[in-house]
Amino acid sequence: MIEVQNISKHYQHGGKSVAALDNVSLQIASGEIYGIIGRSGAGKSTLIRCLNLLERPDSGHVSLHGEDITRFDERALQQRRQRIGMVFQHFNLLRSRTVAANVRFPLELAGGLSPAQMDARVDELLALVGLQDHKHKRPSQLSGGQKQRVGIARALANHPDLLLCDEATSALDPETTDAILALLADINRQLGLTIVLITHDMRVIRQLCDSVAVLDHGRVVEQGKVLDVFLAPQHAVTQSLLAETGMGQGALQGIWRQRVATPVIKLTFVGEPTLQPVLDKVGREAGLRVNLLSGTLSEIKDTPFGQLLAGVVASDVDVSALPAIFAREGVRCEVL
């Protein structure tokens, strides 16, 4: 369990004090993938650096498994950091070292392993990220995705209990992003490793995360399970971030209200009902005919979900009775 309690951090900018983080609190369960999303300048980068104290908050506490690391002295903190992996947007590999030597670097820092043991561990890690064949290459000879795999192998070297990802896929093309996200999900499953990541891309949250916090101007404006936040975003920033992925947009709703002006219903499917012909079934039973205005059908971490906006064209029952009918099929219906 990772607990961030009321941390604040200010920067001096042009003689003025600007809050990068304003009283932020988070609770991150062991073994989950926790995403922090926000636009640039929202304070994400500062927040993730407060988790290993690369940035020291002005006030507040950060506890890892019950240990308040803000009270650690420098030496203890350096020791603790050896078991907190970090992956960076621009990889930050040592150009002077080969792939294998880069992965070996944190093992050298930690000490305690013989050279042969280090080599064995390096081979193990390179196999985990699928880079066995590139062992002796220099970072400059690798593609972006390969560099990030080296970064991930390096971050895992000392058996961390926490992995921090600082925009780990932001410098990669979409295809490579998917592969790296799949690798992270795999590592989370295989090693039960807690992962905290920051991103500005809702797709990363949707594909990978269990929980999410939305950061805006240094404050957490919304947090919860990814599915809940996606299906019922409360804050304007969350809604606009979701709109970029095509979720939750009004689409034809405005025109419908102007020209047709019959009621509009919002149907939310999660899990099993997504795979059933619910709309068809209710349509027959209640004589409901609708015109779809917008919709999203997708999955979040292997859970299928859907959200449809529909204008009611005809209905045998009163519109206000529809929520109860849909509820029987496990679908939430709201009359807007």
Binding site: L77, Q78, R81, H90, L93, L94, S96, F105, R138
Partner: protein
Amino acid sequence: MLDFDWNLLLEIDWVEIGEATLDTLTMLGVSMLFTVLAGLPLGVLLFVSAPGQLRARPRLYAVLSFLVNVLRSLPFVILLIVLMPFTLLLVGTSIGVAGAIVPLVVGAVPFFARLVENVLREVDRGVIEASQSMGARLPHIVFKVLLPESLPGLIGAATVTAVALVGYTAMSGVIGGGGLGDLAIRYGYQRFQTEIMIVTVVLLLALVQGLQSAGDSLVRRCRFD
């Protein structure tokens, strides 16, 4: 120049040229060794103590930086004379090749240290941050990150310093330091023996050219791609 008697070249005392070459190489080699030994740590200290850096000590940095500037602004000829008592204390003589090495080192260390500081500033901050995130302590960062990552730049800085030292050695004749530059001044300039001048200049040119090519090829060999 057109009526230069090329036969004069045959009358050159090649033994003296040989000795002068050896003197220059000795002064260059020994002073370069001590310049690197003292200048590299000083450059690292300047880098890490600068404001906003790994071990920011603004007051220490200001003092070191000022001292470096003072030494760099003194003309080398002045340094040679000013340091004579100090040299005598340190190596037992203030003249000759041995006496020249101390001022050469004192003149070159601040120059090299400043170059080192600038080279280290070019190391990607992200890489330093990454090593901090892995729990690296300052000595780790210096020896496993800063110096290896900036090796090509450091070799370049050493090359520039060595070439500057060749120039400095020419002035060591003032204190009887000897060497090719001294020969050029005493025979070529003061006694109008143009042939000596030509030979020494050609030898110095070859030395500088050789140093630069050697430095460049080392840099090429240890570039990271």
